[in-house]
């Protein structure tokens, strides 16, 4: 069993910079947990605390049920893959892989066996004699991963390992790391600022901001039910549209009212928004939840008329940058959608997928 438990983990730098604040988290055995957030949110610091590379200010860290606060990195039974690979430049690939095993005084035969096993898994057997400088970015990344798996640790820690790769290679490595997780059946904690990486690889995602956990859940829950405006805006590409507006009472329901359109909320939301009637809120909807009005029969109370400002054709789909009154937002429409800049279009909101956030606390009302 290799679960990782963080209790009230706090890391303060130079006496006043709080990088991680009372962080509580449980990573289950064999889970692929992703820590995601913008730069400076404390995700890498959290990972380094788990690795033992940063001394924690307060709290407790358990790996496999054992308190490891005072245990050095080498004895925590973890392996780490760094953003810039951190390969030993003066050693060839074989030495890079075997260095950790040599230091553990493992027998040569066993080292040789493990290095070749890892090299085979990562398809780098033909590179064993090469020095890191003679490898491409992708090959270096494989060696860095190989150095981790050769040790057969309880927990793998990945610190933005794909950031230095080009877009195509990143997609390829993403798939390979996901496969590797399935094959190794190991516990992985993976740090990234890329929400696409987080969504595609993680079985559980932790969204962080300013050293605090914003939300912990599986990718789809995170996408469909963000707990606050930050998570809603951070997860999803293109990001969720936000419009600061007002909630008004209309007949039996409540409605989102702007200068140029009115969206009538479904009656099941009445209870949730009743206390906000007449108050300012943030209305959120994802670009893909705007549908072309043609072909939609019941569009009353959910139609937005908007002017096309910019068209971004991506091949498989089109991003439309739109304006309606003083508000600006995006829509993601199918590639065959025909329109032109300056033209007025009608788009219908999928009411089941809208969100409303408290303006002050930024927490999701629904």
């Amino acid at each position: 069993m290799a679960e990782v438990v963080l209790k009230e983990l706090t890391k303060v730098f130079d006496g006043n910079v709080v990088a991680v604040d009372k962080f509580n988290l449980e990573v289950k055995d064999k889970e692929f947990l992703v820590l995601v957030g913008p730069s400076g949110c404390g995700k890498s610091t959290t990972l380094r605390c788990v690795a033992g590379l940063e001394e924690i200010t307060e709290g407790e860290i358990f790996i496999g049920g054992k308190l490891v606060n005072d245990i050095p990195p080498k004895d925590r039974d973890i392996a780490m893959v760094f953003q810039n690979y951190a390969l030993y430049p003066h050693m060839n690939v074989y030495k890079n892989l075997s260095f950790g095993l040599e230091l553990r005084k493992m027998k040569k035969d066993e080292i040789n066996k493990r290095v070749h096993e890892a090299a085979q898994i990562l398809d780098i057997e033909h590179l064993l004699d090469r020095k890191p400088k003679a490898l491409s970015g992708g090959q270096r990344q494989r060696v860095a991963v190989g150095r981790a798996i050769v040790r057969k640790p309880k927990v793998f820690l990945f610190d933005e390992p794909l950031s230095n790769l080009d877009a195509k290679l990143r997609v390829q490595m993403r798939t390979e790391l996901a496969k590797l997780h399935q094959n190794l059946q190991a516990t992985i904690i993976y740090v990234t600022h890329d929400q696409v990486e987080a969504m595609t690889m993680g079985t559980k995602i932790v969204v962080m901001k300013d050293g605090l956990i914003q939300q912990v859940s599986d990718p789809l829950t995170l996408y469909d039910f963000p707990v606050n405006k930050f998570v809603a805006g951070f997860i999803g590409s293109p990001p969720m549209n936000f419009i600061d507006t007002e909630i008004v009472k209309e007949k039996d329901c409540y409605a989102i009212k702007t200068d140029s359109f009115t969206i009538v909320l479904t009656p099941d939301k009445n209870k949730l928004v009743s206390s906000y009637a007449g108050k300012r809120v943030t209305f959120g909807f994802r670009p893909e939840d705007l549908i072309d009005e043609s072909g939609v029969k019941d569009k009353e109370g959910r139609l937005i008329r908007a002017r096309v400002e910019v068209i971004e054709p991506l091949g498989s789909e089109i991003y439309l940058h739109l304006s309606s009154g003083k508000d600006f937002f995006m829509a993601r429409v199918p590639h065959h959608y025909k329109t032109e800049i300056g033209k007025e279009v009608g788009l219908v909101v999928d009411l089941e997928k809208t969100h409303v956030f408290d303006v002050e606390t930024e927490k999701a009302i629904f």
């Binding site: 380094r48 690795a51 033992g52 590379l53 050095p72 990195p73 080498k74 973890i78 392996a79 780490m80 760094f82 953003q83 810039n84 951190a86 390969l87 030993y88 430049p89 003066h90 260095f99 950790g100 230091l103 553990r104 150095r147 040790r151």
Partner: protein, 292 residues
Amino acid sequence: MVVKNNIPSIVFIAPAIVLVAIFVYIFSGWSAWTSLTDWRIIGRMGKFIGIQNYIKLFAGDDIFRKCLYNTAKLIVLFIGITLPLGIICAIFLDLGVKGKGLFRAIYLIPLSFSFVASATMWGWMFMPDKGSINTLLRMLSLDFLTQPWITSTKQSIISVAIVYVWQFSGFATLVYYAGISSVDPDILDAARVDGANTFQRYVRVVLPLQKPATFTVLLILLMYSLRVFDLVWLLTGGGPAFSSEVLATYMYRVTFNQNLFAYGASISFFMFILSFVVIIIPVLIGTLKRMG
């Protein structure tokens, strides 16, 4: 057209090229030519005698052979101590020990001293009777440790080496500290996760990455030790009994004390060739390697 476009660059670079051409290449060439003559007296050029001076130098000059040995001994002692000392001090600084600012200042001060000042100061310190080193040893009742230092034929070159080490170990420390500080912290973290303790991190990871720093230090120390003159001349005068005579002091003695200009030029040209082989060739190879 190319020349026309580059006129401003040529104008700016010309004075430097002219000066280098005159004072380095023309004088070196002249020295090489002189070494093939029997020139002895100022005002009258000697006649061409081929490589006679070189034959005499290598086949019949015991003092020259002694100088070669002394220079080699000085280089081995000087570099053999300065390099490891520089590494140890740089690691000490890198470990972030308290008072490292003060340590660094103390270590770098000798580097700012001129050789004349160092030679004078160490000359006093090395005096067998009233010198501060032996006086201190006697005060500590360690009389048995007192040494004749520069007055002994066995210790004079060692004494010169000690002053050289004192003067240059700060430089070696500085270069190694810069080299050690530039090692990617992630590599050191990776080594920690891999299981390396502090000693193993330095020996197995940090030091093997100091090849460029070692190359720089080695080259500069070699340059200084091959042409060593002022410190030896002022500290020991090459004595006693040529025990600390090195190539440069011997060249000076032969040329200006004995007025054997051509013979002195042959020693000088030999030193040039030696420097070329030991210093310039490795630099050229390094440059060519970098250029692929």
